[in-house]
Chain length 244, copies 6
Amino acid sequence: MFYMDGKLQYPVRVEKPNPIFARALQQAIGGVEGEIRVCLQYMFQAWGCRGPAKYRDMLLNTGTEEIGHIEMLATAVALNLEKAPLSLQEDAAANPIAGAVLNGMNLRHILSSGLAATAEDANGVPFNASHVYASGNIAADMLANATAESSGRALAVRLQGMTDDPGMKDMLGFLVARDTMHQQQWLAVVEELGGHQAQLPIPNSHPDSAEHARFSYAFFGHDVSGMVPSGRWTEGASLDGKGT
Amino acid sequence: MFYMDGKLQYPVRVEKPNPIFARALQQAIGGVEGEIRVCLQYMFQAWGCRGPAKYRDMLLNTGTEEIGHIEMLATAVALNLEKAPLSLQEDAAANPIAGAVLNGMNLRHILSSGLAATAEDANGVPFNASHVYASGNIAADMLANATAESSGRALAVRLQGMTDDPGMKDMLGFLVARDTMHQQQWLAVVEELGGHQAQLPIPNSHPDSAEHARFSYAFFGHDVSGMVPSGRWTEGASLDGKGT
Amino acid sequence: MFYMDGKLQYPVRVEKPNPIFARALQQAIGGVEGEIRVCLQYMFQAWGCRGPAKYRDMLLNTGTEEIGHIEMLATAVALNLEKAPLSLQEDAAANPIAGAVLNGMNLRHILSSGLAATAEDANGVPFNASHVYASGNIAADMLANATAESSGRALAVRLQGMTDDPGMKDMLGFLVARDTMHQQQWLAVVEELGGHQAQLPIPNSHPDSAEHARFSYAFFGHDVSGMVPSGRWTEGASLDGKGT
Amino acid sequence: MFYMDGKLQYPVRVEKPNPIFARALQQAIGGVEGEIRVCLQYMFQAWGCRGPAKYRDMLLNTGTEEIGHIEMLATAVALNLEKAPLSLQEDAAANPIAGAVLNGMNLRHILSSGLAATAEDANGVPFNASHVYASGNIAADMLANATAESSGRALAVRLQGMTDDPGMKDMLGFLVARDTMHQQQWLAVVEELGGHQAQLPIPNSHPDSAEHARFSYAFFGHDVSGMVPSGRWTEGASLDGKGT
Amino acid sequence: MFYMDGKLQYPVRVEKPNPIFARALQQAIGGVEGEIRVCLQYMFQAWGCRGPAKYRDMLLNTGTEEIGHIEMLATAVALNLEKAPLSLQEDAAANPIAGAVLNGMNLRHILSSGLAATAEDANGVPFNASHVYASGNIAADMLANATAESSGRALAVRLQGMTDDPGMKDMLGFLVARDTMHQQQWLAVVEELGGHQAQLPIPNSHPDSAEHARFSYAFFGHDVSGMVPSGRWTEGASLDGKGT
Amino acid sequence: MFYMDGKLQYPVRVEKPNPIFARALQQAIGGVEGEIRVCLQYMFQAWGCRGPAKYRDMLLNTGTEEIGHIEMLATAVALNLEKAPLSLQEDAAANPIAGAVLNGMNLRHILSSGLAATAEDANGVPFNASHVYASGNIAADMLANATAESSGRALAVRLQGMTDDPGMKDMLGFLVARDTMHQQQWLAVVEELGGHQAQLPIPNSHPDSAEHARFSYAFFGHDVSGMVPSGRWTEGASLDGKGT
Ligand SMILES: [Ca+2]
Ligand SMILES: [Ca+2]
Ligand SMILES: [Ca+2]
Ligand SMILES: [Ca+2]
Ligand SMILES: [Ca+2]
Ligand SMILES: [Ca+2]
C-alpha cells in the first residue's frame, strides 16, 4: 500500500516559463527513458519477485521514489506552460518569436490538458507500457534497470544543457544525481550476486548440454571482405570465465 | 513525494491457481478499464490542478490508493500462475485439459515475465497512456473519472462472476466496493459545484456569443425514413436549464 | 446501412489558410477527444445494444451525425493547407515567418497526404481504436459519451480561441453547439433511467452480497499526515441513497 | 453529411453461435485487412481529393457502403457470442470443450464489451489509423485500395473456410462478392487514366531530370553468389514503356 | 544469412545541414511509406513464400537492397543534424531563426539519439510493424508492394522538392529511381502470372459457388439522391473478364 | 550495403509441427526480447556511431547476423504451421484436442499470413520500433544491448523448455549460444573502455558541478516504517570509485 505527503521531493522553480522546454521535459515523463517507465518497471519487478526479500524491498523503495520524480517533472511542465501563447498571431510579422514558440509547442498542452503535463514523450507519443521490463530473472532485470538509468541520465544531462533557467538547472541537477545513484544501485546487485563471473551468461541456470557451446564464445564476421573488427570481444578469456 | 509500507491494502488469496484467470485479471491491471489507468489519471489531474486545493488533495489521495490496487492485482496474477504448465504436452491426447490451459494462456506470462503480471491487458496489449485523461477542466475530469470507475466496476463484477475461487471472489468484492465509492466520489464533486444546472455545458465558461445556440438543444435525426427516436432528449427542459 | 448526400452538414470556410491551425484541427479529427472516436463509439454501442430499441436508434442517429463532423473538419484541414510552404527556405533569414510555419507543420501534411487531413491527432499520432468505449452497460456508456463530449467541447472551445479566422470561428461555433446538445442527450438517458439514485453504483445489477459494502461508502486517506480533504464525498448521504 | 436506415445491407444469421469464430471475425472489423480501415481510407481519400469530382463521388459512395459492412460484421460477432461461457469451469475435466472455448476467446468480449464486437483485430489489438492511406495521388491511392480489397477478400475467403455455419457462409459470400467488385473498381480507375503506360512511375508528374534514370530500370542482385533471379522484371520492355 | 560491406549503396552528401530536413527524412525511414517497412515486408514475404523459388529469390534480393536504403537515409539524417542547436536561446529576439529551427526539430534527435536517426516517422511516431503486409497470396502481395513503392516514391519526390541541398537532391534522385524500378518489378510479376484477366479476383482460387456472384460486378450507389458516378467501373467488361 | 546467400545460418527442422509453438516462437521474432529489435538496434547504433570505427564495424557485423536469426525463426514458424487446422470443428466433441489447438492459435497465422510468420509477438501485438535504443552514448548502448541479449536468452531458454521437438531444441540451442556470446561481447566493450570505474556514471562526461553530488551516492528509503533494505548498495565504496 502507498502513501503521499503532498510535497515535492526536491524544489521545482521556473524563472522564465518556456513552452518549448515544457515539450522537451515531456521526454523525461513519458519517454522510453522517462520516469513513468522506471516507476512501473521497478514496481512490476518487485511485485513479481520470487527471490530474497531484500531485493523486492529495494525495488519497492526505489519504485516509490520514482513516482515523486514524475510529480516533480509534471510540476515543471505546468510551470513552463504559464503564460504560453494560446492563439495564433493574426499579424505574425509583428511577433515572429511568439509565433515560432506556438508553432513549436506540443499543441495538446493547449488543446487537451489545459497547460499541464501529459503522459507522453517530447513528440506527443503516449507512453507505451511494453517498455516495462520485468523478466523474472534478477540479473537480467538489474541490467535492464541500469540501462534505463543510463539513458535516463543522458536525457537529464541533455535537458540540463538545453536550458539556462536556474530553477530548471537546479531541479535537473538533483534528478541527474539520483540517476547516478540508481545506476550503481542496480549494478551493485550484480556484484553482490558474484558479478559477471557468476551471473553470465544470463540466465545462469541453463543446463550446458542444451546449449551448443561451440558457438557461445565466437565472434561471427558478416563482412563480405572477411575483415573482422578486433577488440576485447575477440581477445582474452570470456567474461564468464568459461570460454576463450 | 510518496511512501509505501510493503503490505497489501486487502488480503489476496488464491486457493486454486488458474492461469486463464491470470490472463483475465490482466484486464484490470493494464486494460483501459484498469488500475494503471485510473492511478495515472488521478495523479496527472492532481499535478495539473489549478483549482481549489481540496480537489487536488482528494485526487492525490485516491490516485495513491490506486497504486495499491495494481499491487493487489499483480499479486493475484502471480498467485494464479503458480504451477502453470510450462511445456507443450508431447502426448496431448493424454491430457487435453492441461493442453487447453496452456493454449489459452498469455504466453508472455511464461516467456517474458517468468510467471508474473505484465503491464498489459487480457489480450497482451500493453497499456497505452493516451487513456490518461486530464483536461484541465474539473467537471470534464470528474465525468471521465466516473466513467473509468463505471467500466472498472463492470469489469470487476464480470471477473468475480468468472471465478469460483473463494480468495479471488473475496478480493474482487473489495475492489468492487472501492469502485462503488469512487464513482460517487467524483460525481459528488459535480454536485458540490452546482450539478448539471451549473456545470453544463462543459466547459461552462464559454461566452454564449461564440456558440450557435440554435443548434445547442436540438436532436438531429439522420434516419432516411425521417423517424426520430423520442425520449428525455427530445422532451422537457434541457439539463442545463437554458434550452428546451 | 448508410447513405450520404455529398454536402457538408454546416458550411466550412477559411479566409486565411493557416497550416499550423490545420495541425491543431487534427486533434478534433483523430485525437482522443475527436470525432472519429465518438463516431465509432456511438456506432459500436448501437451495434452491441441489447436494450430498448430507442437507445439503439438514438445512438445510430448521432453516430451517423458524427461522420459528418469528421467530414467538416477534414475539409477545414485541407482548406487551411492551401498555399502551405512546400520547401525549406534557402535563405531563411529573408523570411523567418514562412520558415517558422514550415517548421511547425505536421510534415506528413506535405509528405504523406498531399495537403489533406490525416486520421491522426495534433502531434501526428494515429487514432487508436482502444478509445472506442462500448461496455454493454447503458449507464456506463452514457457517462463515457458525456465524457467524450465534454472533452470534445473543451477542445472545440480552445480551437475557437486559437484562431481569428471568421470562417473557422463560425464552423467551430456550430460544432461547439452540437457538443452542448450531445452532452445533455447522453445525461438525459441517465435521468430517464432514474438518475443517480437508480443507476448508481454502475452496473446496478450486482448482488449486494458479492460486494464488501463496508468499503463502499468510505473515503480512504493516503496522506502520511493523516489529513483527509473534506467535501461532499465525506459528507451527506451517498448519491445512490444507500450509504452515508 | 450521412444518413442511415437502421437495416443491414445483407441478412446476418448465425445458427450455431461460436465465440471462437466471433474472435476470428474481429479481424474483418478491426484488422489491417478489415472494414474500418477501408471505410476510413475511402472517406479520407474523398475528403482530400482535388481531382475530378467523379472520383471523389465514387470514393464517397463506396466508403459509405463500407460502414454497412462494419455493421454487418459487428452484428455477426454479437450473434456468435450469444450463450458464450462466462465462467471458468470449476470441474474442467467434466467439460473440456467448454473450457477450451473459454480459453480461446477474446476475453474482452466477456470483460469489456458485454458480448459485443470491439474495434480490434482477431488478437484483440485495437485498430490503428496509421493504416488509413490517402496520399493525394490518385494512382497511388487506387493501388492502395486494390491492395486493401485483395487482402480483405483473402481474409473473407479464409473466414468462410473456417466456419460451417450456413448463415455465416452466406454472409461471407456476400462480402467476398463486394470485395471482388471493389478490387476491379479501383483498378478500373487506373485503366481509365491510361493504365500502367500512362501512370507509371507513380507519381507520374516528376521531372525526369530529377531522377537518376540509369537506375530506374535495372534489377539489382544482392546475392553474394552473383545469381540473379530472372523473370518479366529482367526481360522485355518496362511497364511504363520508357525503360528496357 | 546476410552480409554487408560497410559501404553506402550510393553516396550521401549534405552541404548545408538542416535539422528540419532531418526530421522530414525520418518519414522515409520509419514512416508507413518508408524503408523499414518495405525491407521487412519483402523479407517476410520471402520467408513465408511457398510458391516458385524465383519469386522468393527476387523478394530476398530486393529486401536486402532496402536495408541499404535505411542505411543511406540514417546517414543523411545524422549529417543533417551536424551543428544543430542544442540549447534554447536565452535571447530569442536576437536569433529568431535558430529559435525557430530548434522549435521545429524532433527533440528526440537531441534528447534521445544524440544527433542520429531514430526508427520513427517525421512526427516522431515509432515504426509499427503491423504495416508489414505478407498475406501468403502472391498477387495480393505484389499489389501491396507496388502500393508501398508508389507512396514511397511520392514521398521521395516530395522530399526532393523540399530541399535545395545538392547532396540531398542527388541522393533522393537515386532513391526515386529505385522506386521507379521496384514499382514495375512487382507489377511485372502480376503480368507474368497472366495479368488482371488471370489473377482477378484476388485470391483467384476461390470456388465460384461460395461467392454470391450477382453482387460481384455491380457498383452500389449510396447517395440519397440516387445519383451514381459513372466511369470505367460502371461501363465495359469487368477487368477479370467474367462480369459485365 | 547488404548481401545474402539464401541459406540459413543454422539448420531449422521441425519433426512434429505445432501451431501453438509457432505462436510462442513469434515472441522471439517480434517481441521486445526478439530478433527484429536487436537487429534494428545494432544497425541504428552503428549508423549513428561517431566514435572509433571498430565499434561501428562490430555493431554492423552483429546487426547483420541478427537478420539471419529472424530468418531462422520465421522459417521455424512456417514449419510449425504445416498441417495446422484451418476450420472450426463441426463436432468438437469428437476432437477436443484439435479444437483446443485452433482455439489457442494466433488466428492471424490462418487469416492474415497464410500459415507464415508475422512481425509480431506471441500475443499478436505488432513490433513497435520504440524499442530500438540508440542513445549516441556507447556505454549506455552497450548496457542496452547486454540487456536485450539477457532477456533474449531467457526467452530462448524458456522456448527450449516448452518444446520436445528435437529440431526445435537443436535450433534453439544455437540461438541460446549466440546470445551467450553477444551478452559478453557488449560487456567486453565496457571493460575495454575502463569498466565501471571509468564509465560510471553514464554518461561520464558531465561536469560534476552540474550535479548535486550530495544525492549521488545515497539510497533513499520510502518505507513509512523507516526500514531500509541493506546490501551492496548501502555498503562499501561506490562502483565508480567516487562515492561511499
Ligand atoms: Ca528517476
Ligand atoms: Ca481501483
Ligand atoms: Ca461531434
Ligand atoms: Ca468491404
Ligand atoms: Ca527503397
Ligand atoms: Ca539473436
